[in-house]
Symmetry: C2
């Protein structure tokens, strides 16, 4: 039995998440029983939604239990199998969590999915051709429902969701504008990700100032906004929304810490007759097949070039995760375990 490093949620954050919320431990992997599969994780995905799960709040699906391995998406390889459905050597995507190995019931629907790494590198199944990509797809296609020629905006533009959003929106003939932190990210968004323009929010102290910069790139207003961060950025975008605009609420990083993060002018929702919809992509599994098909095609044809921030070793996960919450990553944040 190989030994298995794990990171547990040890205690809940009172406001900002901290490294001390996590605990590193090592256990033996248990012997398999019939039907089970042992997966060695090659990469662990770090995503903003994990911050929400660290809170014990009503409404958000299933808070992460204390003392359990932190949940998280993983890609890896089957290293032992007592299931007829999986063979040693199969490349698989699952929710293995923050650990080196996981034992999975091969009969549990959707728990493990075999993937083909001929045209798409394994790690991208955690990003562009995985949960973040489908998240971008759901928000754009199912909530924003853009028409050709419309203007759509996304915050955290160079992240895994933002870059997939750009490729999907461009394929639909939209003018797609990004918002990101720092000149380097903004340049990259335009040069590599297909954004028409990208606004650096770090150059602005107020929603009014940021709003002017966004407006300059959106002369016809904004028809759809994909929200990944909340706070000042949302306040800057809201007054620019066209009548009957749609806002897909996917992330509110700025609000996960429990501090109030007010939306200053909610009356604009009425005045501009907006539709704002919050969603969690794991609750819309019916959309995954069509989304993954398009995303896989965009990646394999080079129209979507995912960038990754790679931390090395499980013990590096907490720091990389805290950095992600502060926008320190540049591209999809993953942890390389093998």
């Amino acid at each position: 039995m190989p030994s298995n490093q794990q990171i547990l949620l040890d205690n809940r954050p009172t406001n900002e998440a901290a490294a001390s919320n996590f605990k590193l431990t090592t256990v033996d992997t248990p012997a398999l029983v019939d039907g089970q599969v042992l997966v060695r994780h090659h990469f662990l995905s770090l995503d903003p939604y994990m911050r929400g799960r660290m809170n014990d709040s009503k409404g958000y699906t299933a808070p992460q239990p204390l003392g359990d391995v932190m949940i998280g998406g993983t890609v890896g390889e089957v290293v032992d199998s007592r299931s007829p459905k999986f063979a040693v050597g199969d490349k698989v995507v699952g929710m293995g969590g923050w650990q080196q190995f996981s034992v999975v019931d091969g009969n549990q629907i959707g728990a493990l999915r075999k993937v083909d790494t001929t045209h798409v590198p394994l790690s991208h199944y955690l990003g562009a051709v995985g949960m973040p990509g489908v998240t971008a797809y759901y928000g754009l296609v199912k909530i924003i429902e853009p028409k050709e020629g419309q203007t759509v905006v996304v915050s955290a533009a160079t992240g895994a969701v933002g870059s997939a959003f750009a490729a999907l929106a461009k394929a639909r003939g939209c003018r797609v504008i990004g918002i990101a932190g720092g000149l380097e990210k903004c340049r990259y968004a335009v040069a590599e990700l297909g954004f028409y323009a990208c606004i650096d929010y770090k150059l602005h102290d107020t929603a009014g100032s940021l709003g002017k910069a966004i407006k300059a790139e959106c002369p016809n207003g904004i028809d759809g906004y994909f929200e990944n961060v909340g706070g000042m950025v949302l306040d800057a975008v809201l007054p620019l929304m066209n009548a009957f605009g749609r806002i897909a609420m996917c992330g509110m990083i700025a609000g996960y810490d429990g501090k109030p993060m007010p939306l200053m002018y909610p009356a604009l929702i009425l005045m501009s007759r907006l539709r704002i919809q919050g969603f969690i992509v794991s609750e819309h599994m019916d959309v995954w097949p069509e989304a993954l098909k398009e995303l896989g095609m965009l990646v394999s044809t080079g129209k979507l070039k995912p960038r990754e921030s790679v931390a090395v070793g499980l013990e590096a996960a907490p720091e990389a995760f805290l950095g992600l919450l502060k926008g320190k990553n540049f591209g999809k944040q993953i942890v390389k375990l093998v």
Copy 2:
């Protein structure tokens, strides 16, 4: 030619609307040309949306031009006609504005609608069987889309919209809870309007305190909320919304004055996967026939007993309107002109 008292929008409010924003004047009614109809208004409707039109802000449809007669719904009687479509004596609903008479082009689609006063008193076509009633219908049926047994909540519960909302929600088997200002209104909501319970927001200083009182009447959470006021009430309701809850944004009286009226925890939109939709009922004319049919039936069978606050004489309109914005009315606010 009869002389015609009018109230014009003289200047725009800088923050709170005031009587000095309006100007009373008297003109002669012009001679009719072919196709025109002269209507004598019996009742003028006063509605919160008018406050939005007084601002010169982008997004909200057509600001009221300065120097023009204030817009507003009216019911009255045809007193002269050069249109084959309308005869002297016809009872009609229109948008005659804050004046005693209006001249209407009889050929303009939707400008005047003949109504039957056999079972529904004329003034109710400005309220329960008019724009406010259809507003309640659209928010409940098209946005909230309640299922039998679900809990729905409405603010400004004893107003024209709130009372229609209660009757429509009750007809769909919902538990309908009201929020209103003052013990008298709350008692009336339960005794006469069919609310299961009504919470007096004036007894509470904070959203937290108000939220506890609402929660006590909503043991299974809130599935749909119809927002007529905004501010503290919205902050109190938001944390009580069930997953996949719907909020129809119809009025934000607290936000019309241009002061920021923040929504304190917008992250709840994501955490509870809410859908929030702003709307203006005049942009959804396709819904009016089905809505008016049900509302007329509810009134004529006594299941919806509309209450009216009646101001007398056109010169009383500004003060009655300012009182409406502060919640001083009790039931549908109208002005009796004849």
